[in-house]
């Protein structure tokens, strides 16, 4: 495959077994107002030609900073030391001009958000042709041919139409393919992929991972994969580097890391991954003889021409956890909005304990609690945690004075937070602590129904599992019914008694969790379940085969 390398590449060196990329004692220090912060400390790693190396870690582990330092894309406050040798040249020692020739030519970059990686006011052809002509002396017509060829390479159907389009006219998956086409335009030796599938739906993620795997074998490009998703690692990586707090904790072969990790931290990280189990879990079904607490009938919500929800009907029995699964744009958040009364239904009705939510009064609303996806957004930044939790109690004049303070302290304890945190402001808490505070607020009035809209997807892996356990334990103690919304099937499997699967605003399948996850009837549900990666390289390889067969 050396023919794919650009002319002049030191092929002899690569053939001689020397690594393509070698990082020695890399450290990155940020100068901030309050002194220096060591974001990365003494990182050593190697990447061979054609190899996929996954750098995994939670937010703040330094994995992205390490990758960005290779391209000189760190802010000016960063001081980089050490050596990063790519095919015999130290990237840190290059001038701005030399570095520019490396970017996009020897190293290609794939970003997390394909929408923001492309210029929204330029058509795809202009951007792609520009990316080609920066490094190659080609005429416009030749560059256009090359662009078409690249779009075929990334398996985009109808390249001519894609070239004429503006970014907003393409879907997220198509855009990421365009970004990948740009990244491989000059057949780089190294691709840096920073969370390449995090912003994408799980069915699209599976396709993009398949494409990356295919490009790697066709172009013999090495891939430095930055991710927090162990399922993605298991799917794509040959070797794994685990980072924590700016340092490399462990590195090794993907099978070794997953099956016999030597470090405590790696074991914890893998242990906290919420993954689909190999065989059906025993999940109780709640007797639905009782009158349902929530009854949704033929609910439709139309925004302009878009039918966000289309004839949705389901019930939730008292004490039951109903999982609502769907990808972005499936209408699951719209349904949540209609249930909580934030969205007005265009047709159909939502009945809570026999009353229409559309005409809900304060007394009815206090019996529904809501937990949102991003706890940073769900807490008033200018209110203390205690005030935020006390707000529903004050609003409904349930308690006041010292009784109110006691209740807030009790609530904080029930979500396993120190009552002293009640005097802090949201920015002084971690993401997991904030989400616990949000749960305490939602449960302050002892609701009959808890609506949880993706409550763990903004959290780090190690925190997710504990927050889910907390919700389960509280549900067991307090016995509320729960509408649990998620795109993550593994999370749903942990919690839900029953599952509703939504696609394009409609319910495509509904049933007990075990039967939906392990014997799906609908074609879309089957694809959705098959596409979800599992954090085990061997199992994932088998699942990949099954997914391809679909």
């Amino acid at each position: 495959m050396s023919g794919a390398l650009p002319a002049g590449a030191p092929a002899a060196e690569l053939a001689g077994g020397a690594p393509l990329l070698e990082l020695t004692d890399v450290a990155v220090r940020f100068a901030t107002g309050g002194g220096a912060v060591d974001a990365v400390r003494s990182v050593n790693l190697q990447l061979a030609a054609g190899e996929v190396l996954a750098v995994v870690g939670e937010s703040g582990s330094g994995k992205s900073v390490t990758a960005m330092s290779l391209l000189g894309l760190l802010p000016r406050t960063a001081a980089v030391s050490g050596r990063a040798v790519l095919a015999g040249r130290d990237l840190y020692g290059l001038t701005a001009e030399e570095l520019r020739r490396v970017r996009g030519n020897e190293i290609g970059m794939i970003f997390q958000e394909p929408m923001s990686a492309l210029n929204p006011v330029l058509r795809i052809d202009d951007q792609l042709i520009e990316a080609i002509r920066v490094h190659r002396d080609l005429g416009r017509a030749q560059a256009r041919d090359r662009a078409t060829e690249l779009l075929r390479l990334v398996e985009l159907p109808d390249p001519a139409r894609v070239l004429r389009s503006y970014p907003h006219e393409l879907s997220g998956g198509q855009l990421q393919r365009v970004v990948i086409a740009m990244a491989v335009a000059n057949e780089p030796k190294l691709l840096i992929a920073d969370e390449p599938t995090t912003a994408l739906d799980v069915t699209v993620q599976a396709e993009i991972l398949e494409l990356l795997r295919d490009l790697r074998s066709r172009l013999d490009t090495a891939i430095l994969l930055i991710t927090h998703d162990m399922g993605v690692v298991a799917d794509l990586a040959d070797r794994v580097v685990v980072m924590h707090d700016g340092e490399v904790i462990e590195q090794g072969d993907v099978h070794t890391i997953f099956n016999a990790p030597s470090q405590e931290y790696t074991r914890d990280l893998l242990g906290s991954v919420i993954a689909l189990s190999a065989q059906p879990m025993e999940i109780d079904t709640v007797e639905s003889a009782a009158e349902p607490v929530l009854r949704v009938r033929d609910l439709s919500v139309v925004y302009g021409k878009v039918r966000a929800a289309d004839g949705v009907s389901f019930d939730i029995a008292p004490g039951e956890i109903l999982g609502l699964v769907g990808e972005s744009g499936s209408g699951k958040s719209t349904v949540a909005g209609a249930v909580t009364g934030l969205v007005k239904p265009t047709a159909g009705a939502v009945h809570f304990d026999g009353s229409d939510m559309n005409r809900a009064d304060k007394a009815l609303r206090r019996r529904i609690g809501v937990v949102f996806q991003d706890p940073a957004s769900a807490l008033n930044p200018r209110a203390t945690i205690g005030d935020s939790i006390a707000e529903p109690l004050r609003l409904h004049r349930v308690l006041s004075g010292s009784a109110l303070e006691d209740r807030v302290a009790d609530l904080l304890r029930s979500v396993q937070l120190d009552p002293a945190l009640g005097r802090r402001y949201p920015h002084e808490l971690s993401g997991g602590q904030r989400q616990r505070a949000c749960i305490a607020r939602a449960l302050a009035l002892d609701p009959d129904l808890l609506v949880a809209d993706e409550p763990t997807s903004a959290l780090d892996v190690s925190v997710q599992a504990r927050v889910l356990e907390l919700i389960l334990r509280l549900q067991d103690e307090l016995g509320f019914a729960c509408l649990f919304i998620s795109h993550d099937l593994a999370v749903i499997e942990r919690l839900a008694n029953r599952v509703v699967v939504m696609h394009h605003g409609r319910i495509v399948e509904t049933g007990p969790t075990a039967s939906v996850l392990y014997a799906p009837q609908d074609a879309y549900t089957r694809r959705l379940i098959a596409a979800a990666p599992v954090a085990d390289p061997v199992v994932q390889a088998a699942r990949r085969q099954a997914w391809r067969a679909l």
């Binding site: 609303r365 206090r366 809501v370 200018r382």
Partner: protein, 295 residues
């Protein structure tokens, strides 16, 4: 744990010697305004005309002295120090009161337009556009000319300046409210059953103070400047109430023979507007990091 906003503002004002000096100037002017009567009686003077200190041509017989710290006014012999410190009282009172009126109107109108939206938002949008494009200086001059003298001029100025000042604040507040409403804590309050007033008071207002503090500290000097301009044109504060603008206007005629007459009230007006502007600017830099560091 103290409120982060108060700490930010305090730090911003005390950040470097330049803003510290400006803040001290503002505080000094506020002190002069508050203690005007006391200071003038310490000096042993008042706002009464006194022709005995004037020469035969009506010009002051002598310059600043132990009796008259800034000298006296030509033709009337009124003590200039008394005019300047009482002028500070008028300027600050009108500047602050007009800003308070503008902020109250701007907050209520801007937040309700941003939160409620719909037809109310459209009406507010049109109204602010009209007021922004309105030739308000000419309107103010005409209005002052036709109002009966029984209406107290300071009150009229406060109401009119406040009325023309709210659209600026309402625009900022509306934009901020629109982004806040996207945040989930507002949705959380609505789900709890909170009405618009509760949402405004507990969710929006604490998050609106930061931009409101910035626009209002920058609005005070422009209000002071407007009052001085109107008084300069003779349609603002009328005698015997002291006003920098009016004193400056008369002093122009004597600038060659008695320059100090112009310099004292002019410097006072300059210092107070500069002080407020510098403090407002550094508070804005502290609260809105996007504007910091730009020179």
């Amino acid at each position: 744990m103290s409120d982060p906003l108060a700490t930010t503002v305090r730090r911003a004002v005390w950040a470097d010697w330049w803003t510290r000096l400006s803040a001290l100037t503002v505080l000094l002017m506020i002190g002069l305004a508050l203690a005007a009567d006391l200071l003038v009686s310490l000096e042993g003077q008042s706002l009464r005309p006194d022709t005995s200190v004037l020469g035969p041509t009506g010009l002051p017989a002598e310059g600043p002295s132990a009796d008259h710290w800034f000298g006296v006014e030509p033709l009337t012999g009124i003590d200039l120090f008394a005019l300047v410190v009482h002028g500070a009282r008028t300027s600050l009172l009108i500047g602050l009161a007009a800003t308070v009126v503008a902020v109250l109107l701007g907050l209520l109108i801007g937040a309700s337009a941003g939160y409620l939206g719909g037809w109310w938002d459209r009406i507010v949008g049109w109204t602010t556009d009209v007021i922004f494009g309105f030739p308000y200086l000419i309107f103010l001059i005409a209005l002052s000319a036709v109002t009966p003298p029984s209406v107290p001029k300071p009150l009229l100025l406060v109401i009119v300046l406040g009325f023309f000042g709210w659209p600026r604040i309402a625009r900022v507040v509306r934009a901020q409210t629109l982004t806040l409403t996207q945040r989930k804590f507002v949705a959380a309050a609505r789900v709890m059953g909170a009405g618009p007033w509760h949402v405004f008071r507990t969710e929006l207002l604490p998050n609106l103070w930061a931009p409101v503090i910035v626009v209002s500290t920058l609005s005070i000097p422009s209000m002071i400047g407007l009052e001085a301009a109107l008084s300069f044109l003779g349609v603002g504060i009328q005698p015997p109430t002291a006003s920098w603008g009016r004193t400056i206007s008369t002093a122009i005629d004597y600038v060659e023979v008695d320059p100090l007459y112009l310099i004292f009230p002019g410097a006072a007006l300059f210092l107070v507007t500069l002080g407020f502007n510098v403090v407002g600017d550094s508070v804005r830099d502290a609260i809105d990091p996007r504007s910091a560091g730009r020179i």
